[in-house]
Symmetry: C2
Subunit: 600 residues, 2 copies
Amino acid sequence: MRYLLLTSCAAAALVASSASGNEQLQKMSQNPKEWVMPTGDYANTRYSQLKQITADNVGKLQVAWTFSTGVLRGHEGGPLIIGDVMYVHGPFPNPVFALDLNNDGKILWKYEPRQDPNVIPVMCCDTVNRGLAYADGKIFLHQADTTLVALDAKTGKVVWQAVNGDPKKGDTGTSAPMVVKDKVLIGISGGEFGVQCHVTAYNLSDGKLAWRAYSGGPDDQILVDPQKTTELGKPVGANSSLKTWQGDQWKIGGGCTWGWISYDQQLNLIYYGSGNPSTWNPKQRPGDNKWSMTIFARDPDNGMAKWVYQMTPHDEWDYDGVNEMILADVDVGGTTHKGLVHFDRNGFAYTLDRTNGALLVAEKYDPTVNWATKVDMDKNSKTYGRPLVVSQYSTEQNGEDKNTKGVCPAALGTKDEQPAAYSPDTKLFYVPTNHVCMDYEPFRVSYTAGQPYVGATLSMYPPPGKKNMGNFIAWDAGKGKIVWSVPELFSVWSGALATAGGVVFYGTLEGYLKAVDAKTGKELYKFKTPSGIIGNVTTYEHGGKQYIAILSGVGGWAGIGLAAGLTDPQDGLGAVGGYAGLRDYTSLGGQLTVFALPGS
Amino acid sequence: MRYLLLTSCAAAALVASSASGNEQLQKMSQNPKEWVMPTGDYANTRYSQLKQITADNVGKLQVAWTFSTGVLRGHEGGPLIIGDVMYVHGPFPNPVFALDLNNDGKILWKYEPRQDPNVIPVMCCDTVNRGLAYADGKIFLHQADTTLVALDAKTGKVVWQAVNGDPKKGDTGTSAPMVVKDKVLIGISGGEFGVQCHVTAYNLSDGKLAWRAYSGGPDDQILVDPQKTTELGKPVGANSSLKTWQGDQWKIGGGCTWGWISYDQQLNLIYYGSGNPSTWNPKQRPGDNKWSMTIFARDPDNGMAKWVYQMTPHDEWDYDGVNEMILADVDVGGTTHKGLVHFDRNGFAYTLDRTNGALLVAEKYDPTVNWATKVDMDKNSKTYGRPLVVSQYSTEQNGEDKNTKGVCPAALGTKDEQPAAYSPDTKLFYVPTNHVCMDYEPFRVSYTAGQPYVGATLSMYPPPGKKNMGNFIAWDAGKGKIVWSVPELFSVWSGALATAGGVVFYGTLEGYLKAVDAKTGKELYKFKTPSGIIGNVTTYEHGGKQYIAILSGVGGWAGIGLAAGLTDPQDGLGAVGGYAGLRDYTSLGGQLTVFALPGS
């Protein structure tokens, strides 16, 4: 205990004395006792070396303490743990709490920004916030109104603020910042409002804008080098984005950036994905709509893209490409690659070589995925790397005001923002998935700044003959195969955690925290938390004890019916009807539950 | 388990077959596996015969499951447990949930009334609701807007509704109904709005009004018999209330009835207390203001008062007399009496003979109480039974617009609605108390229907030299002495539970559920729930296991600063400043936490 305190203080002192957050942060992220970035580590593995809790003893887990955020609606993300302090965030109005781990979570400070509540109707899919970042003695919060604020980690006082967008035009903040070197990186939401989305880097020290990279637009806005930036090994060429859009549509073309960011220190590259092209009606935007639906590898110093890969050219189903990129060594056919593994909304799990963006594996991670037969892996094919679309499920081919029925997955994808985990022990990826299909009817929509720019009506339901709307799966990214799959009644909208104890954790929309055997998926423990879980499981050690922490608070896209009090099945972009049964299991909340094994 | 199910079904069938709820309810309340009325039993002892959880093993208590009500602000009261179903309520908008105990609290049905939100500003001390009643297959809810609704316990469908008051005039519903024989009894709130308050009996079968007894007014409204109704052994005489008011002040005279109701089946008497006379400025209402601040013993069949006892004639401090009457045998000086024990807001604990209202004991249950030296116990004295007021602390004598400083207790009393418990094993009463003093400045106020009619400004603070604003005490009601006292940082605003296991439970405003040794007060267990506790601890058995249940959700008068987002120390009737420190410990919530011992 005393030892831990000393280490923590020393670490804090080190950080405070340095302007460059990165080295310390990298080091701190390797200390399994802490959880210093929203993704656990730069590689986004969400793997912890802690192993006090094992497959043998996890069944004895107990609730150690709890905390209410004082906010209802969807609680995505999870807390940070730095030294003796836990930092907890909430959805709009985005309170931040610093809790004293030495005193059952006594509130050391609370920060709650004053925000115009008119931002709420501009948030497409609940008033969520995916978490905080830490570096250099500061806590970073991306508010719903897009203000990026740096708080003194000791006092909660504002150090600096930067305005990242304009909610009046549909820009909102939902994603977690990521600190890389001397910069705070942050994306933006607004794909359903015709925002031209971007990732922006702000100086860690003073919040000044360092660079901004749009997903679509002219080369100098999207920060690509026509010659040096490649896709599947080939230079993208000049105007790689502009030439895939009709007219000025790219200016309201979406490609939003509200997912997670990864970082490879050795390669000095960050990785993230872009979302759907706007509008959801594909007829209104002919072309591939680059670089929506794209994995970006960029230089964090200047934002320049090293490589890109568009997974769903000319999206017809809202299959955002924002899901996290997990960086791990992957054996493909006997060769170990510096892998990037990505479980896309479109139902394909991609394994790429993260050094150059080479496509290694692309396979369905839910057998019901039907909108494409496969991703073309023939390097000599003209459609190399592209999904081969099935006409029956093409909302473009079926056309406007036609209801394309039975498309799997639904718009919220085989997986949405809920992050997967990776264990180097089992070499498996643990993926919270949706198991949902949809009817999709595109219609013509005109653009008005700040007004919804969706252009499609949807309904959602489980795949034919199925009752479970979710599965929690283990994935072999080298082979592109499901190793085991645990059915869940509803989509698993919670982020997974893998641990050295051989236990994998996730939460369910009914509110259960579950622990399963990393090797077999066998359920080892479950506990009903106060509300449905869409938060990400976190672990840390304090006073010699390993803790598991999870935010409850049903909501997000899947839970929008409950969160926003909607009842029309077509509301909430089609999620209300599909998840109507959820109201029999849980109700709104906003609580942190912290677990540990019994005994001191 | 099977046995329990069968018993529960049998009990339910019995109840459903009978129009008279009382006998079954009496029987059900004696089954320690259930918790069928908000007070636990008719005697309001909040004692359970369950003893699986003992002083020896309570330290191993674990959280079994949790549930979020989906509402923030203060959660008073506690759930009912009937058969395999738990009924949970919440503050405005007063949702009611039927939870399946066989399935981790799956929601069997939810009822949420549509109420005009304009009732919120008419609720003096948070939007609380103190719980539900059950009888004859129906669940009874007293909504904030004063609608008393009977719900089918199996389906949640409305069976009947009765309107008990008019929120536009300041009437609100906060208290729990009590079913006695074939009637549903309910009080009303509004003492800070000049309501002429009453207890009303509605027919269990159809919701029709059976009788209504006002606290103040003409004899035919207050249901007294000038000859047969007695106070301290003497007939009250004609116009016993009217003659203690100036003019028509009684019509806006308060005497509200938002506390708990007790019932003695053998004596066929119900017991409850009335609240403050309106306004809080004593100069505006000369006289004793009867029957405010009074214990009533009434016939439940027709409402007629058998005896009354006014504890605080001509109140000058808002010392409502609404706190519960606990019915228990009490040994006073070697004689066992059919006792009624009452811990009044005014700081005196009263022991009366409940057969006739004879005053047996009246002693301070907090040594800091200073507004009166004692209650005059000399039967030959003209002031027999009255408190002997200390001039220095008389806001009447000091006068309007004068700040009377250092009065103990504060307006919220040495105890407020938070109910005490009684154990027949230890013969001790377990009392959650406030340890708070005040400055009180009365001022002239004019009456406007539906507008606040308070007439005093207050500030609150701990007694001189003290830091703790609360104590949890054990009380000997025969001797009028504190047996042990556990200091608490804030007022203990949670209802206590005593058990045959020798353990007493209560909650704290910081959010701890605590278990103490019934004999010594030694802390045996504590757990930090998501939010501050102002709910009442409940116990039940299901599947052979004893459970402890508690609602968290900071608020009520003490927590009004947090609950209503107030910051001015003078706001919230003076509680905001006094309890400002609470925000360092907890934030808003609304959760049920259920505990049990480990193992199956």
